[in-house]
Structure formats: structure tokens, C-alpha cells
């Protein structure tokens, strides 16, 4: 049954609709520009609109770094100021043409953002906040005090615009065009590989690293883009107002930008534009509040965080999605998943070898000199009582934790010091004991992140363009061009685990068992050679566990090697070819299930000593 019969549209339909959307968008932009050229506006209104447009561009930068990537940036006014002063000094003191000065401003802002990001994004949260505030403060100090260069508190007047745009009307048209272009860019960014990586980092940085996203590089990219847009907005702002001074780019303005993006909603471009518009126009309408408008901003920020953290647009979107029932998704025909990168056979060769692996936390030896060999195309289980070091061992194999000693070799390559995302690239996949999905993304997007990181799959020329876009039009997060092969691969992974029908759903709406399957699909989409499963059976009922066992056997049949931790011995016995047992961080047994589960040390580890010689103080029992 083909999906085109289902939707009644031709294969060209979706592409045509996107073209139409773009056309309408461009038309709207042209209409807005025409309006400001034709309608006579007072200088005051023109200034207001120009401020709104240029501020919105800077706020869209915050959408990228805060909304998409979840990183805080309290120096957006500093980047805005760098762009503004570049144009100001460039066109006056250095007599450069406007466009050159603008380009320089954008580059300087982006460069500053990159440097700041590279140095502070390794540390999290509040460190970044402090570094950005510090940078902001230092810049204000420099702008105010380096009078010889920046003209100090008096500011820089008589900034020159390009000759053709010398009038306010046309210049405003430029700003509007720039805003439309930037908003389009930011919107499309969300559905690119980088955009998905950003959202993954925001939702669950650890899981992002493990599926192959270089979280650090992604955060730096987001921060740099944010600074770039800040500089761009500032450059346009300088040309518009023809005068800049240091107090326009202080920490207070950074707070204003932040409030705009929070009020409107950080997760999508319309939020940025909405927030900017409201906060620029509102004070005009509430002129009597002008004295305390910043105080109101401060209070508003608190209230927004408590009651409406997604902002107005985010709240509206949540309502919209609640009212619309989830459409059942028919993916049509899905080609079977091409799982492994090479043909794999159970040939006894070693895929992962571990020698003398240790992990100490201070005095505690969580993992103590462990040797382990995982053979290709087998199911290898790791068991042991609570606190025996299983998860620590897995984290060390995965790269989340640095071992204190020992060597890990994947197919002969020493990976002991590689970060998790690089190991994913070499073929290690993993799921977590506490499911780590990207909560704000759809099921399909989650799996696509797994598929495209760290290297996207090579798309065979013949496959491109054969995507039936009608199968995918209603998915949250629009389909990107050229991503056809990627989506089909992701769908194939979902189909393999049996939940392709829920591809369009938000992950939060799935049952626990299904979320578990999505996590497995995400790992499979990366075409791993070796798949680590950390307690995949946890929280599943008997029926779901039976399905899991069947899934594992199918995976093995396709050539995958599986390394599994679990406590359900019945399940482990059914699937495992080989079992390693840990206790107190040491390996106490290693062999086939029948050998291991009868091993006396293993029985003692789980059940305790046979009738210990303890005086039975049962009293009158």
C-alpha cells in the first residue's frame, strides 16, 4: 500500500507545498519592505521599527544558543556592541565603506564568541554565565575608558550609511530584509544535522555524546553563531541610529535581550520576534512605566520562569499540539535496515579486548584489574550483585569515565582515551539503564541523530530523490533536503524494533517499553559493530521482556555483537552465549551460562554463604 494513495497527493505535492511556503514568505518580506517605503512614517516610528528589527536579529542569536542548545549567554549586548562599534568607527574614523565595516563587525563578534566559547564551554552552567557577564563588563569598561580609540562615553556620532540607503525608509527596508533572512536561516537550522545535534545536547548532553555528537564542538558552534548574529544586529543598529555610545551595550541590555527571548519563547524563531516586538512596543504604550520598566523586566523574568518557562509562543505551541490528536503515521514501504558495516560471522574473532581495567574513586576500587574479551557476533552478558562495578565498567568501555588503568582495544585499535563520540564513530553503540532520550524531539528525530552522527551515511545516488515526501509531511520538524536517505534509514531502524508507526510522536508520550525501543533504534541507526545494553529489561513486564529477547536474537542474527548488563537471570540465560561475573569490582567468573551459573563463587556472591555459622537468635520461633 503506497502512501500516496493514502494522502491522495502526488509525490511532487510536498515539495510543491514547501516551495509555496517559501514563496509566500518572500512575498511577505517584500510586502513589509514595500509598506515602509510607501507608508509615510514619522522618524520616531521608523527608529522604533529599526530598533525592533535589529534587536530581533540579536535575539534570534539567543534562540540558537539558549533555545536550541540550552546554553546561557549573558553577553549578547557585548557582541551587539562589537558589531555596532565596528560600523561606527569603521565608517567614521577609518572611512571604510559601510558593507566592509559591517563584515568586519560580524567577524569580530563571531571571533570573540568563538574564543569565549572555546575557553568556557567545557565547564557548565553557572561558570558560563559568569564568564559571559565578566566579558560583558570588561567590554563596557573598555568602550567607556579607551577614549583614544572608542571616543569614550561621548560615543561615536555621524555614522555613515550606504549611499543608496541614506534615507531612513530604505534603510529600514534593509533591516527588515535582513530580519526575514536571518529568521529563515534560524528556522531551517533546526532541521539540519547541526540543529538536531544542538537540540540533542540541550536535552541530554551525555546521551548526545554517546551517540556520536561532539557536544563541545556543537556548543562552541552555537555560541559562535549567537555572537555572529549579535554582531550583525549591532552593525545594522549602528547604521540605523547613526550614533552609538557605551551605555547602549551594557549588561542591562543583555538582560533585555534575555527577557525578550524568554518572554516570546526560546525554542523557535517566532518566539524571538514576538518577544522583541512586545518588549519594544510595550514600553511605548506603557510610557508611564518608563522609569521602572527595567524593574518590571526583572520581575517578569522571574514570573516567566515560574509560570511560563516556554514563553508565549512555546505555550501556544503546547496547547496547539494538545488539541491536535497525533496522526497515525503510515511510513509506507520501508526497506530493511542495513545494520552492520561489514558482514559479520560468529567466527570467534575478538571484537573488544580489555586488559587490566581499573577505575578508582579515591580509595574505592569500583573496578579492579578486569580482563575481558568479547567475541564477534556473540551475546556477552555482564552480571553481578548490586555495587559490583558493572555500570562503572560499562561507562569506562563507553568513554564516559576515564579508567585509572588498563587498556581497551576495539578491533585492535586502542580506544582507552577516546571521548565517547569518537568511540561511537568507531562502531560502539549504547543504551542506558535510565532511558536517555532527547525529550523535546520527536521519535524520528531522536533516531536521526543516532543515524547521522558522527558521520552521515553515504547516500547512494539512485536512492536520492526517491523519497516519497507524502509519507513524511506531518512530522514535527520538517524534512531537510537531501536527508531522504537519512530518514529512511532512521525509519528502518524504528521498523526493526517494531515502532515505526510512532515515528512522528513526541518521545514523552510513549510508554516506558516503547521509549526503551526508541533508544535501541537510535543506537542501531548508527550502524554499530558492538552494542552495549545497560539493563534493557529494567521496568519491562514479562511480555515486553519476551519481545526484547526476540529482538536481541534477531540482532545477533544480523551480525551484531551485543554486550548486555541485566539482572533478570532467566532472560540472560536465554540470550547469552557468554557471561562474565563481577563482585566487588573483580571478575569472579567467566564462561558459558551453564558453567557460570553453577559456579560456587557466583552462587555465594548472589545468595550469600551457605548457612553461616551465626548463632540463630530466633528466640521463640
Amino acid at each position: 500500500m503506497s502512501a500516496s494513495a493514502l494522502s491522495g497527493k502526488t509525490p511532487r505535492g510536498a515539495a510543491g507545498r514547501r516551495g509555496l511556503a517559501l514563496g509566500l514568505y518572500v512575498a511577505a518580506a517584500l510586502a513589509a519592505i514595500a509598506a515602509v517605503l510607501v507608508i509615510p512614517l514619522s522618524a520616531y516610528s521608523l527608529n522604533l521599527l529599526m530598533q525592533a528589527a535589529t534587536y530581533a536579529i540579536a535575539v534570534l542569536g539567543l534562540t540558537i544558543v539558549l533555545g536550541y542548545t540550552g546554553q546561557i549567554n549573558l553577553a549578547q549586548a557585548a557582541f551587539f556592541g562589537l558589531g555596532a562599534y565596528s560600523v561606527a568607527l569603521g565608517t567614521t574614523a577609518f572611512a571604510l565603506p559601510f558593507w566592509i565595516a559591517l563584515a568586519i563587525g560580524v567577524l569580530i563578534a563571531a571571533g570573540a564568541g568563538a574564543v569565549l566559547g572555546l575557553t568556557s564551554l567545557r565547564l557548565g552552567g553557572h561558570y558560563l554565565a559568569m564568564v559571559t557577564i565578566s566579558f560583558q563588563t570588561i567590554l563596557t569598561l573598555v568602550l567607556t575608558n579607551w577614549v583614544a580609540f572608542t571616543r569614550g562615553p561621548d560615543g561615536v556620532p555621524n555614522i555613515r550609511r550606504p549611499v543608496l540607503l541614506a534615507e531612513s525608509g530604505p534603510y529600514l527596508g534593509l533591516c527588515i530584509a535582513a530580519l526575514f533572512a536571518v529568521a529563515w536561516f534560524v528556522w531551517r537550522l533546526k532541521t539540519t544535522k547541526l540543529g538536531r545535534a544542538m537540540q540533542a545536547v540541550r536535552d541530554n548532553e551525555l546521551a548526545a555524546n554517546v551517540v556520536g555528537v561532539d557536544a563541545y564542538a556543537t556548543k562552541v558552534a552555537a555560541f559562535t553563531l549567537s555572537a555572529l548574529l549579535g554582531g550583525f544586529g549591532g552593525a545594522l543598529f549602528a547604521g540605523g541610529f547613526a550614533y552609538v555610545s557605551p551605555d547602549q551595550f551594557s549588561f542591562a541590555e543583555s538582560v533585555v535581550f534575555l527577557t525578550m527571548v524568554l518572554l516570546g519563547g526560546a525554542a523557535a524563531p517566532p518566539g524571538a520576534v514576538l518577544g522583541t516586538g512586545l518588549l519594544i512596543l510595550l514600553p511605548e504604550w506603557l510610557r508611564f512605566l518608563k522609569v521602572i520598566y527595567l524593574a518590571v523586566y526583572g520581575g517578569a523574568v522571574i514570573l516567566i520562569m515560574v509560570f511560563m518557562p516556554d514563553g508565549i509562543w512555546g505555550y501556544a505551541m503546547t496547547l496547539w499540539h494538545k488539541l491536535r490528536p497525533e496522526r497515525p503515521f503510515d511510513p509506507g514501504f520501508i526497506a530493511p535496515l542495513a545494520l552492520t558495516r561489514e558482514t559479520a560471522r560468529e567466527d570467534g574473532s575478538v571484537i573488544l579486548s580489555v586488559h587490566g581495567l581499573s577505575k578508582h574513586f579515591g580509595g574505592l576500587k569500583a573496578v579492579d584489574e578486569i580482563d575481558l574479551t568479547i567475541c564477534r557476533n556473540t551475546v556477552h552478558a555482564l552480571i553481578g550483585p548490586n555495587g559490583s562495578g558493572k555500570t562503572t565498567l560499562l561507562n569506562a568501555l563507553n568513554g564516559i569515565v576515564r579508567p585509572t588503568g588498563g587498556i581497551i582495544k576495539l578491533e585492535g585499535v586502542d580506544v582507552t582515551r577516546l571521548p565517547p563520540h569518537r568511540r561511537a564513530g568507531l562502531g560502539l553503540g549504547r543504551t542506558f539503564q535510565n532511558i536517555r532520550l532527547f525529550g523535546a524531539m520527536s521519535v524520528l528525530d531522536n533516531v536521526m541523530v543516532g543515524a547521522e552522527q558522527p558521520h552521515p551515511l553515504p547516500t547512494l545516488p539512485r536512492e536520492r530523490g526517491r523519497v516519497n515526501r507524502n509519507t513524511l509531511p506531518r512530522l514535527r520538524g520538517r524534512v531537510g533536503k537531501g536527508a531522504g536517505g537519512l530518514e529512511r534509514h532512521a525509519l528502518a531502524a524504528l521498523d526493526f524494533v517494531g515502532i515505526a508507526a510512532r515515528a512522528g510522536a513526541r518521545v514523552g508520550s510513549l510508554s516506558y517499553g516503547h521509549q526503551r525501543l526508541v533508544e535501541i533504534a537510535r543506537a542501531l541507526a548508527g550502524r554499530p559493530k558492538l552494542l552495549f545494553l545497560d539493563e534493557p529489561g529494567a521496568g519491562l513486564n514479562h511480555v515486553e521482556k519476551d519481545e526484547l529477547v526476540r529482538l536481541l536474537k534477531r540482532l545477533k542474527g544480523h551480525g551484531l555483537t551485543i554486550f548486555i548488563i541485566d539482572h533478570d537471570m532467566a532472560m540472560v540465560e536465554q540470550v547469552a552465549d557468554h557471561i562474565t561475573v563481577l563482585n566487588f569490582g573483580k571478575r569472579i567468573a567467566d564462561g558459558t551460562p551453564s558453567e557460570v551459573l553453577r559456579h560456587p563463587e557466583v552462587i555465594v556472591a548472589y545468595l550469600g554463604e551457605e548457612r553461616p555459622a551465626l548463632s540463630r537468635s530466633h528466640g521463640a520461633s
Binding site: 550483585p385 516506558y512 513486564n541 545468595l607 553461616p612 548463632s615 537468635s617
Partner: protein, 241 residues
């Protein structure tokens, strides 16, 4: 009337149902063992009893009073002390300070009275008296376990909830801990004991319950449980062979 009664208690962490209708009872003066593999719901049961986690549905009664949904502070004042998994001795406080804080549930905790009771604890746990001024994080696992139990006893509980007291401890230390547990019962405190180490627990318990995925599978006297196939399979599998 039993000291502690649970009737069809259901509890969940978000989506995951950890307890699916659990019914059990603990009579005054008993030591009851709660056994089962990891993830069976044993720790969750204790967390629900002590108020760290609210039950979704079902009855919880202590000394006839309904306690479901009460805060941990209220429940410890009623006489239920919870010594959680992993000991959780306050790392930056001394042994003596840790123990004294165990008396925080009293109405009017006079410093002198607390110090005197702490001294009595050192009498019960002479092994830790030499360490009374040592900071929590410097202690060994066994020492921490003793401190945690002493701290729990300071609240003068009628019911002591012990979560995996043998976790991570060497066998010899485990035996010491279990000697203490037997002594506690002799002094009149009822004990509900969660353990993965079934042997140790059954060697000191009057009765045992075995849990699997949040439900009771079997219960009875230790001898009966020990010879029970279901207990072995709950831990080591083999049901389907």
C-alpha cells in the same frame, strides 16, 4: 493488629511501576526480611514506608495509623527510622555529630540528653568509639554502617527499616553487622530488613517476603523459603530450563 501493614500499595517513578499492589505485614518484635533481585522493588518499599516517596494507591498503616502520604519528618516522629541504602553518613560531620543528629525527631532535644544517648550508642557499638571525632568520609564501609545504624537507633524507633546493610561489605564485617541486628531485636525494636544477600537475611529473620518486579511471589518462614525453588530462580534464573 500488626505494627506495620501494607495493603495493595502501588508506587511509580514517573512511567515505571515499581510496586504493583504489594501487601505485607510486620508484627511487633519481629525481624522480617524483604528479599529479591535488583529492581524487584525492595528499596522502593522502604522509601514508601518512610515517606520519601508517596504511594499512588493502597493502604499503609503503622500502629493503626494511616501513614501514606505523610512527610518523612512526620513519620520518623511516629517511630519509624529508615537507614537507607549506601549508609549515607554525613561526610563532613564527625561520627559523634552524625549520631547526635539521629535524635532530631525528638520534641525538645536537649543537648545534654542527646550527648548522653550518644554515649549509650557507643556502648552498643564499641568498635566505633575510637572514631568518634573522625569525619564521616574517612570511615570504612563497615564503620559507616555501624554509625548509620546507631544514628537510626537514636530516634528511639519502634520500627527500624534497614536497606541492604551488607552492601559492599566484606563477609566478616557483614557478620558483625548482623550480630548487631539480632541484638536490636532483642532490645525490643522491630526490624524490616531489605537484603540481596538472602542467606544472611534469612539467618536472622523470623519471616521473609520475596519480591519480583514489584510484586510478592512467596513468603514464609526462613527454612521454607530456603528450600523454595522460586527463591532460587528469583535470584539466579533457570525457570525456563
Amino acid at each position: 493488629m500488626a505494627l506495620l501493614e501494607l495493603e495493595n500499595v502501588v508506587a511509580a517513578y514517573g512511567n515505571i511501576r515499581a510496586l504493583q499492589g504489594l501487601t505485607l505485614a510486620v508484627e511487633e518484635g519481629e525481624i522480617v526480611a524483604l528479599l529479591g533481585a535488583n529492581g524487584a522493588g525492595k528499596s522502593t518499599t522502604l522509601r514508601v514506608i518512610s515517606g520519601l516517596m508517596p504511594p499512588q494507591s493502597g493502604m499503609l498503616r503503622f500502629a493503626g495509623r494511616s501513614i501514606g502520604g505523610l512527610s518523612p519528618g512526620a513519620i520518623v516522629k511516629l517511630g519509624v527510622a529508615h537507614v537507607p541504602e549506601g549508609r549515607r553518613v554525613f561526610p563532613g560531620l564527625t561520627v559523634r555529630e552524625n549520631i547526635i543528629l539521629g535524635g532530631s525527631n525528638r520534641e525538645r532535644p536537649g543537648r545534654a540528653e542527646l550527648e548522653a544517648d550518644a554515649e549509650k550508642m557507643f556502648g552498643v557499638f564499641p568498635e566505633i568509639k575510637p572514631f568518634e571525632a573522625a569525619l564521616g568520609w574517612t570511615l570504612s564501609g563497615g564503620q559507616q554502617q555501624m554509625v548509620a545504624i546507631a544514628r537510626g537507633l537514636m530516634s528511639k524507633p519502634k520500627l527500624l527499616l534497614l536497606d541492604e546493610p551488607s552492601l559492599g561489605l566484606a563477609p566478616l564485617i557483614v557478620q558483625q553487622v548482623y550480630r548487631v541486628i539480632a541484638d536490636i531485636r532483642r532490645d525490643g525494636t522491630t526490624v524490616l530488613l531489605v537484603e540481596q544477600n538472602a542467606h544472611m537475611a534469612l539467618s536472622v529473620a523470623d519471616r521473609g517476603y520475596v519480591l519480583e518486579t514489584g510484586q510478592l511471589v512467596v513468603h514464609g518462614k526462613p527454612e521454607a523459603l530456603w528450600d523454595n525453588e522460586d527463591v532460587r530462580t528469583a535470584y539466579l534464573g533457570g525457570r525456563r530450563t
